[in-house]
């Protein structure tokens, strides 16, 4: 066949030095895996919103490829469109060629953080976020009833933001639900024994946002695990796992947190390190990859990651033992992206829910589409996040549930915010283990 234009070579030519620095640039093999088929487009939230190639997975990979081939710089469109990515990984699920967009994003975001200067306002806002969220103590302050800035004035990064950009601080505040003083400061028991014959021993990551805003979920998790025959350890001095920073490309602090977390948990004699937060699970399972070329940590990280489980994985694998009482409810299960797409955990939460008598599990239309929470996304890209949140809430309403459940605090906050407006506003929004806990204890389903 004759070739009318260009060459049929499916790869871009190398025209100059790569725009990426030498520290973990996106690998050539991973970039070449993309055949540009477009199967990722319908599941990409930003492509769904804007319909622009640059804001689709294959478009972003195309731009990464151009940067790697020396055709474009890191500053400008590449930076803009990588920033706009929610990191939901729906494209990873959708890709028939097995493109590891997660790995690509994970290497490109730190490159951009290192090599591209953000505007002062953007920098300030991000710093405020990262000065706040990974710290339980500061979050507790923020969560208490009353004006946020006063409580947080003690944190310098937040004070600077409050002085210059009060509007963005307000956006941040709107996502944080008020909690009671009791809940905010409550702590989990360090050791809880298995009920009945012991089937195993696990350690629980209590999380930051989770433990402050959804302490009741942690309590339910401990109760359920022990009721199902597990000893549960909750190390008191554990800290943030680094998920938020990792997913935002802040590599150095993220790695430091990863190492601290490994250090804290590796010495425990447990079968699994369990988390009930999708984002934390996904990052902890990724430690092995993140630290793979660090001679001191590679093996330890690998062993740690191998032990990490989402709470539903543990429960589904054990199989139900504690007697369940019926919970007659229509339950819409929302797949958190970091659980469904990033960890491939889709069947287990449904299986766990179906172990409850009289409970009907409903799938939500456009289930693969992100709700817009996406780590810090709804704080830094509020408009796009709001649009996705509304769309998710609308989809949730179509299945007419009586309860909505999801396994990530970010999703709970985001969906909660958008379900409030309109019909169905009074729906209880829970973590699946809360339902299981209510069933096992035979108590009414909590409202929140």
């Amino acid at each position: 066949m004759t070739t009318p234009a260009g060459s049929a070579d499916t790869n871009l030519p190398q025209t100059g030095p790569s725009a990426f620095d030498a520290h973990h640039p996106p690998s050539r093999e991973l970039l070449d895996d993309c055949v540009h088929c477009g199967f990722c487009l319908p599941t990409c939230p930003t492509y769904q919103l804007w319909g622009e190639e640059m804001d689709s997975p294959r478009g972003r990979i195309y731009l990464m490829d151009l940067a790697q081939k020396g055709e474009i710089g890191l500053d400008g469109p590449l930076h803009q469109h990588i920033d706009a990515c929610l990191g939901c990984m729906a494209c990873v699920t959708a890709c028939p060629s097995g493109v590891q967009y997660d790995k690509l994003l994970e290497s490109v975001r730190p490159q951009l953080e290192r090599n591209v200067k953000r505007t002062p306002a953007d920098r300030m806002f991000r710093e405020a976020i990262f000065a706040l969220f990974p710290y339980k103590r500061r979050l507790r302050l923020a969560a208490l009833p009353g004006a946020l800035y006063q409580k947080l004035a003690a944190v310098p990064a937040v004070r600077r933001l409050a002085a210059k950009l009060p509007g963005r601080l307000a956006a941040l505040e709107s996502l944080l639900p008020p909690v009671t003083v009791r809940e905010a400061f409550a702590t989990l028991p360090v050791h809880t024994s298995a009920v009945g014959e012991r089937r195993g021993r696990v350690a629980l990551l209590s999380g930051c946002v989770q433990d402050v805003f959804f302490h009741r979920v942690n309590e339910a998790t401990v109760r359920v695990l022990s009721a199902e025959g597990l000893d549960v350890l909750v190390p008191r001095d554990q800290q943030c796992c680094g998920a938020l920073e990792l997913h935002a490309g802040r590599e150095d602090p993220a790695l430091a947190r990863a190492k601290r977390t490994i250090e804290r948990f590796e010495r425990l004699d447990v079968d699994h390190v369990v988390t009930n937060v999708a984002g934390c699970g996904s990052s902890m399972k990724d430690y092995a990859h993140l630290l793979a070329d660090d001679p001191e940590w590679a093996v330890r990280a690998k062993e740690f990651s191998a032990r990490v489980r989402d709470v539903h994985e543990v429960l589904a694998e054990l199989g139900p033992r504690a007697p369940r009482s019926p919970v007659p409810a229509r339950v819409a299960y929302h797949d958190a992206c970091h659980l469904g797409h990033a960890q491939g955990v889709r069947a287990q939460p449904r299986e766990v829910l179906r172990s409850i008598p009289e409970l009907e599990v409903l799938d939500i239309p456009e289930a693969a589409l992100c709700c817009g929470s996406a780590g810090i996304y709804n704080m830094i890209m509020p408009e796009a996040a709001d649009e996705l949140g509304r769309r998710k809430a609308d989809n949730v309403r179509t299945v007419e549930p009586t309860v909505v459940v999801t396994a990530n605090p970010g999703c709970l906050l985001q969906i909660g915010k958008h379900l409030k407006d309109g019909i169905g506003g009074a729906l209880p929004l829970l973590h699946p283990v809360q339902l299981l806990d209510a069933s096992i204890r035979n108590v009414p389903v909590p409202r929140s």
């Binding site: 066949m1 004759t2 070739t3 070579d9 055949v35 731009l63 151009l66 474009i72 400008g76 469109p77």
Partner: protein
């Protein structure tokens, strides 16, 4: 040659600033579609939100004599949405509303950016579905399906896009909005709708499509059968046809394709068998049952080594997921590959597969085969490694396979289209006069030649002064057709 600044300003002003992309880096994301071998950066990308926006965009291009190319999801495999240098891309990605579902008249009115599968999703509650199902149906748009006259696995029984569209609202290359086709199966006068369908975006841009919906069949029976050879599987297909059965679909995969698909989706295919057939029957229960029993007997008679009958909708979906992901999945077993698309008369399937295998051996390259066996539409996938310098050889082999199809009395393309990729091969299939008359049709719609120029028909600029010396069509040589 650059875009005249006055023209640029006029085109950019046709739509609001949020609907225009003209950054030299951002526009690069539009420089190719699903066929990445050809890349041309467009000067401007316009992303209108409605039909009027499309018309304004086209009018601005027309007034300024600037060529434009319509783009749907950009999944095409023939470079049909390849931009023109210094030209405009008009993306239909934001025209994605389902405007009307009419269950009584079994039709829906949709905008071009709606995906093929979204149509079925929107009408399923009424017990209806949209029949054409290209493998990329979850992502490809109905506007692109109209442009390419897309088929799919089930077109053996149900036909192609052209058989499922009542009418389209179209922006002609001069920016006028017209309707082609009508409300009933019958139309008045020459079937302009029919010639527009499959014209690969060269006659205008569709902005609204009224599609025909079918009642979902009462039952669907799907089986996956393994065979000791491709030839045996091919004979099964012939026997099914000879028995007077019109299956909803008959798909064949060879050992490499099976391996790739299974690795991608774990659908329960047997890795290592030489050939597998997916046969699907649908219709009223009584009918389906009797015919399904016949099909099973035919499979057994041809040495079927394993016969798996989908026992649930999930199992059926898994079988199809494997089949439909096969192209892209080949990426898992080879660093690079070309997807070919050709058609031979069904009775020559075994012959063409033998010849392809020989050609592959000769070139020292592996060829995976995934195809619609019921209608003779082949999709040989030529596997190669660009890093190992095999690109040119692979491209030659792929091209030779398409031309072999023509030689056997078939076609250069069954569903992927001619686009950029095969425009210069058209003289292998059609004579100069045929192409000249096709050009008359194009001129009637687009006298200025600004609507997706350079696609479908060979041009001297792209293919050299003459599109190659005319060679008599094999059918002509054998006296089946005559030429003067």
């Amino acid at each position: 040659m650059t875009l005249d600044p006055v023209a640029r300003a006029a085109i950019v002003a046709a739509l609001g600033p949020d609907d225009v992309v003209d950054d030299p880096v951002q526009t690069r994301a539009y420089e190719c579609d699903g066929l990445t071998g050809y890349r041309v950066r467009p000067e401007i990308v316009l992303i209108p939100r409605d039909a009027e926006g499309v018309a304004r965009a086209v009018k601005a291009c027309h007034r300024n004599g600037v060529p434009f190319v319509a783009r749907g999801a950009g999944t095409g495999l023939s470079g049909g949405a390849l931009p023109v240098a210094d030209g405009v891309v008009i993306s239909l990605a934001r025209l994605k509303r389902v405007l009307e579902v009419d269950p009584v008249n079994r039709r829906a009115v949709v905008e071009p950016g709606v995906t093929n599968l979204e149509i079925t999703a929107a009408v399923a509650a009424h017990g209806l579905y949209y029949a054409p199902d290209p493998s990329s149906q979850q992502v490809c748009t109905i506007g692109g399906n109209v442009a390419e006259n897309s088929g799919g696995a089930h077109c053996l029984k149900y036909g192609f896009t052209t058989n499922h569209v009542y009418s389209m609202e179209v922006v002609l290359p001069d920016g006028e909005l017209v309707t082609l086709g009508g409300d009933s199966a019958e139309q008045q006068g020459p079937d302009l709708r029919g010639v527009f369908l499959g014209s690969e975006g060269t006659l205008g841009i569709t902005t609204k499509i009224t599609v025909r919906l079918l009642r979902t069949p009462e039952t669907v029976r799907t089986l996956l059968a393994d065979f000791p050879s491709v030839a045996e599987a091919g004979e099964v297909v012939s026997d099914i046809v000879a028995a007077g059965i019109v299956p909803a679909a008959v798909e064949m995969m060879d050992t490499l394709a099976i391996e790739a698909a299974e690795e991608a989706v774990h659908a329960g295919y047997t890795v290592g068998v030489p050939a597998a057939l997916v046969v699907e029957l649908d219709g009223p229960i009584e009918q389906c049952d009797t015919e399904f029993a016949q099909v099973k007997a035919i499979c057994d008679a041809h040495g079927c080594t394993r016969l798996h009958i989908a026992g649930s909708p999930e199992e059926r979906a898994a079988i199809w997921r494997g089949r439909k992901a096969a192209f892209a999945a080949v990426g898992r077993i080879s660093p690079d590959y070309f997807v070919q698309d050709g058609v031979v008369p069904r009775t020559r399937l075994a012959e063409v597969l033998g010849r392809i295998a020989d050609m592959g051996d000769e070139a020292g390259l592996r060829v995976a085969n995934v195809f619609h066996a019921g209608d003779g539409n082949l999709h040989p996938l030529v596997l190669y490694s660009a890093a190992a310098g095999e690109t040119e050889r692979a491209e030659e082999l792929s091209g030779a396979i398409a031309e072999l199809c023509v030689e056997l009395g078939g076609s250069l393309s069954g569903e992927h289209g001619i686009g950029t990729d095969k425009a210069c091969s058209m003289p292998k299939m059609y004579g100069e006069e045929d192409l000249a008359v096709m050009k008359r049709v194009r001129d009637a719609f687009d006298p200025e030649g600004i609507c997706n120029p350079g696609k479908v028909l060979p041009t001297p600029r792209l293919c050299g002064e003459r599109p190659g010396k005319y060679r008599p069509h094999p059918l002509e040589e054998s006296g089946v057709i005559e030429r003067l």
